[in-house]
Each structure stands twice: as structure tokens, then as C-alpha cells.
Symmetry: C2
Subunit: 113 residues, 2 copies
């Protein structure tokens, strides 16, 4: 990407951007939704569910794990993945305060009609 100039921005801005990046791919959205809906924490049934290669799913899971959104625990030969709900509440909070900042915007139709 030609080096995103993270130094120009605040930590909060970079953090939110990183979280958004994690959600910036339909496969990751789908993985998260699948984990949210499945009773048991699911491993790579995701491969057959989503129609992507095992290596690809694994890579997406790693990104989600790196941000703490998903955890995995070894269960014999396989790995059980699940959402870290505590972390997700945090994340939701981040987004929420961002959105609030916008809705409290004083751009009251004063411009751009």
C-alpha cells in the first residue's frame, strides 16, 4: 500500500481503522456470523460452509485472532473457534462512540443542501 502514514493520526483513529479493516472482507463477516450463530464453537467446517480453501480460512481466522475478536482452543486434532464476547462489547463501544460523534454533528443541513 505504500506505507500508510499511521504516525499522522491518533491512536484512537488507528485503532478504529484496524477494527474496520478486520470487518472489511465478506469472508470475515461470514465467519463471525457463523460463529455467532453456531451452538458449539466451530472449527474449519467453515471451509465447507464458505467455499474457500482451508489455507484461506485459516488466514482470515488469524487476522481475527490478532485483534482478539476470535479465540481458538485446541480440541484434539481440531481447533474450536469462538467469539470473544467481552472483546466484542469493547469493539461495539468503539464504533458506537464514533457514530455518536457523527450524529451529534453540527452540520445541520447548513451546507451541501
Amino acid at each position: 500500500m505504500g506505507k500508510s502514514k499511521t504516525l499522522l493520526f491518533t491512536t484512537a483513529q488507528n485503532d478504529l481503522a484496524d477494527l474496520a479493516k478486520a470487518l472489511a472482507h465478506p469472508a470475515r463477516i461470514a465467519i463471525i456470523q457463523y460463529l455467532a450463530n453456531s451452538q458449539s464453537c466451530i472449527n474449519v467446517t467453515l471451509v465447507t460452509e464458505l467455499g474457500l480453501a482451508q489455507a484461506t480460512i485459516s488466514q482470515h481466522l488469524r487476522e481475527l485472532k490478532e485483534l482478539g475478536l476470535v479465540r481458538g482452543s485446541i480440541e484434539g486434532a481440531s481447533v474450536n473457534y469462538c467469539l470473544d464476547l467481552t472483546r466484542w462489547r469493547e469493539v461495539q463501544q468503539h464504533f458506537q462512540s464514533f457514530f455518536e460523534q457523527i450524529s451529534e454533528s453540527n452540520t445541520n443541513g447548513l451546507c451541501c443542501n
Copy 2:
């Protein structure tokens, strides 16, 4: 990227991913916040505010405009940008229902301890 396989996913999943992508860069977060906080709709004062080149800002603004998050109206030689608050309420709704889906998750600590 090697062609993201959008066809495998639902429209809702792709849409949310696209919105997230728009927020997946600190410069765009900063632009949005600046627009939210400024009284008048601001043009590329953003260049001096953010410390990025004019071409770069213009490109980020275009991405935001393409998703309808930001509008610009020509004002003589310059352009006034502002947030489309109606659109933003929509966007917030998208994210909110995604987060609700997660918090209603039945992953009640049954796994991954």
C-alpha cells in the same frame, strides 16, 4: 488482492464489508471526524489539517463519496464537503444490527473458556 470472491457471500455481507473498508483507514476516519466537528462544511483545508498531499486527500474523499458517506457542493473555485447524515444513520443501523447479532450469540462461554 487476488479477486475477493464476492459471489460466495450475501449482499448484506458484501455491503457491510464495503462500509467497513471505507472506515479501514485512519485518514478517512480523520476526514469524517473533521467534517463532523467543523461548523461549516470544509473543503481541502484537510490537506493542511492532515498533512497528506492534495491528491491523496482527494482520493480518500472520492471513496467516501462513492459510498454516499460524504457529499461535495461546488462553491466557486472550491468545493464544500459535508457528511450525508441521512446516509450515516443507515450505516449506523447496518453496523448496529451486525453487533446485535453477535451479542445475542448463544456462545455462552460454552467453549474456548
